[in-house]
């Protein structure tokens, strides 16, 4: 069991990264591009992993890496400002230093999905942790079957990466379907929860691997829908979230049943966590 070669004095210390760019995605969501300070290690990561981002004197947060795993000279994060810590993160100016620890956690099954159809279902900010998996599949497009991306957001103004969504749809055998819960006045697209998109997805269920990320309620409904369409539980993967302080399995905060989300997750196959998802206040 002991593959313990990493000591806490290494993994508890943040590396300095400089903010290269802060771009606004929506009214409360921003994308940060960070590059390592000279002399730091390369920023390689697996799709689905996360970093602990530290703002000097404010605090540290777990944020999924949202960039292209093929580009390991920078790290990209899409952050929604929901409180003091996230707000200070998105308010950093270009050139300022942010502490980065990681990458941590298990990643999306991009290798296991080769040769199969891939269905990506994202809700809200959940598209950010899935974007690296999408990049990975598109980089090796011929090694995968069909690619279906289903994305739901609250309203048209909350949609992330709109230009990229359009670009992704132009790849061969790739479907991108977008919906919103609240349409507003000028939206001409689909209105309804993301499960209503399933009937349009062209899938071979027994040959599909599904990757889900979004609010837990949404993921529960989506797994039901996927099973109704013939996918089996070991082929469905979810990214789970709990309170995190250390990200290295010591503080105990991120436990989800017997699993530590920081090291046994955040990506889990559905068959492993299904009994936990049915338990209230677990």
């Amino acid at each position: 069991m002991a593959t313990a070669v990493i000591t806490s004095t290494d993994v508890m210390v943040p590396q300095s990264y400089r903010v290269q760019e802060v771009s606004k995605e929506t009214s409360d969501t921003f994308t940060l591009k960070l590059a390592p300070e000279e002399g730091s290690n390369g920023s390689s990561f697996r799709p689905g992993q996360f970093s602990m981002l530290w703002v000097f004197g404010v605090g540290e947060l777990p944020i999924s890496i949202s960039g292209d795993p093929a580009k390991n000279d920078q790290l990209i994060y899409t952050v929604r400002s929901v409180g003091q810590a996230t707000n200070s993160l998105v308010s950093q100016s270009v050139g300022s230093g942010i502490g980065v620890r990681g990458p941590f956690g298990t990643g999306w099954p991009v290798e296991a999905a080769r040769g199969r159809d891939v269905i990506i279902v994202a809700g809200g900010i959940g598209l950010a942790p899935l974007r690296p998996a999408i990049y990975e599949v598109l980089h090796r497009r011929d090694e995968y079957g069909r690619l279906v991306i289903l994305y739901g957001a609250r309203s048209p103004r909350d949609l992330l990466y709109r230009k990229e969504l359009a670009a992704w749809a132009r790849h061969r055998d790739t479907q991108v379907l977008v919906t919103v819960d609240y349409g507003g006045v000028s939206w001409r697209g689909h209105v309804g929860v993301v499960t209503t998109l399933f009937k349009y997805a062209r899938l071979k269920p027994t040959q599909s691997v599904a990757m889900l990320c979004g609010p837990e309620i949404m993921m529960r409904f989506v797994t039901r829908e996927l099973e109704a369409h013939g996918l089996v539980r070991p082929d469905i993967y979810l990214s789970m979230e709990r309170n995190m302080k250390c990200a290295v399995g010591f503080c105990g905060h991120c436990q989800y049943g017997p699993h530590f989300i920081c090291k046994d997750g955040p990506v889990f196959p559905y068959d492993r966590i299904r009994p936990l998802m049915e338990k209230y206040e677990l």
Partner: protein
């Protein structure tokens, strides 16, 4: 029983044992009476040991009482455990300063500790160290702070010859006897033969220390008396946990009505997690000075009984006392097996003694098994 290298040390010589440790550069930590309890603290001589004291324990009850003899270790366990030193309540991980729009880490090494000698480690406490070793040293990451403190520690174990009503180490297979895991293993003996300690070395450095002391060969009577003492301690235990299928018992009874019963009593005060020798949860706190130029990261004990422990945006996951008590007990007795291949409980009974309302973890297990709501409340 074969001699196996046992020797006898007169009680009057114990002070020399402590002195020898000090001479070798160890900071000796042992039991001492303070504020109505027997706690672990730095001691300089045997005079600070709790001579003639014992502890009277029951659910939600702890009192020191005078013994009618001069036993030095005539108590069971106090509110503290050795995690006070190995996995400290408060430790600074690093400090940093602002520099050129970013930061610079100033000191990051686990602060060098004077090697400590722990005098009077109980069987349950030795097992608790082994449990924490598995969590903090032998999983995916290795806690450097714990590693440094653990490696340096010289352990002088003390077998129990009495139990408190709250003890259940016998049923957990963690005591009261000690076969290994310490540098020296002692048993306090009184009566005919005099006030003395049966001693066995458990390591090379333990044997080396023994050679510097005035010891005599142990007789068959000494060995028998010690063996009998441990057996008496085990037989006296009235509480127990039946660990057969305990993982399934807890996993499958998430909605058992007993949780509501215990939730009505539990105040989520977190005492149990503070006194428990295996609880390891911590929190990470970032602080900075007023000018904002200097920052420190601290690690502090935390407890799953607090509402903020499970907080994610939108609220906490475990808001009810029921959910939090269930989490603690399920983790300690069941999930620990999946995570670390053993129970997280060593049967020391501290959680029963120090719970202000006397919740008894052994009683809660029984109630779940029997599918009833019986018991206190």
């Amino acid at each position: 029983m074969p001699n196996e290298g046992h020797v006898v040390l007169a009680a009057s010589e114990l002070g020399k044992l402590i002195a020898a440790l000090v001479q070798k550069g160890y900071a000796v930590v042992g039991p001492t009476v303070r504020d109505g309890a027997i706690v672990y603290d730095a001691i300089e001589s045997e005079k600070e040991l709790p001579r003639g004291w014992t502890d009277e324990q029951a659910p939600g009850h702890y009192r020191l009482k005078r013994r009618d003899d001069d036993a030095l270790f005539g108590y069971v366990v106090g509110p503290q455990s050795w995690k006070k030193y190995l996995h400290p309540a408060e430790v600074r991980l690093w400090s940093a300063e602002r520099r050129d729009g970013t930061f610079r880490i100033l000191n990051n090494e686990a602060k060098p500790q004077p090697p400590r000698a722990f005098l009077g480690v109980r069987a349950c406490e030795l097992k608790a160290m082994a449990v924490q070793d598995r969590v903090l040293l032998e999983d995916k990451y290795r806690d450097a702070i714990y590693a440094a403190r653990r490696a340096g520690a010289f352990l002088i174990a003390m077998q129990c010859t009495q139990s408190a009503p709250t003890c259940f180490c016998a049923s957990m297979g963690t005591g009261p006897g000690i076969a290994e895991g310490a540098d020296l293993i002692l048993t306090e003996l009184m009566g005919s033969g005099g006030h003395r300690f049966l001693v066995k070395a458990g390591s090379e450095r333990g044997a080396e220390l023994l050679r510097e002391l005035a010891t005599t060969a142990a007789s068959a009577a000494d060995l028998s008396q010690a063996e009998q003492g441990v057996k008496t301690a085990a037989a006296a235990q009235t509480r127990s946990i039946d660990n057969q299928g305990i993982k399934e018992l807890l996993y499958k009874n998430f909605e058992h009505p007993r949780w509501d019963n215990v939730a009505a009593r539990c105040m989520t005060c977190a005492n149990c997690t503070m006194v428990c020798p295996t609880c390891f949860c911590t929190t990470v706190e970032d602080v900075s000075d007023v000018a904002g130029d200097h920052a420190e990261r601290w690690r502090r004990w935390d407890s799953c009984f607090t509402e903020s422990f499970s907080y994610i945006h939108g609220g906490s996951v475990r808001t009810s006392a029921k959910a939090r008590y269930r989490q603690w007990m399920t983790h300690k007795l069941a999930a620990w097996f999946d995570q670390f291949d053993s129970s997280g409980c060593v049967g020391c009974g501290r959680c029963i003694t120090w719970c202000p309302v006397g919740i008894d973890i052994t009683e809660e297990v029984r109630a779940l098994r029997e599918g009833t709501n019986h018991g206190n409340a």
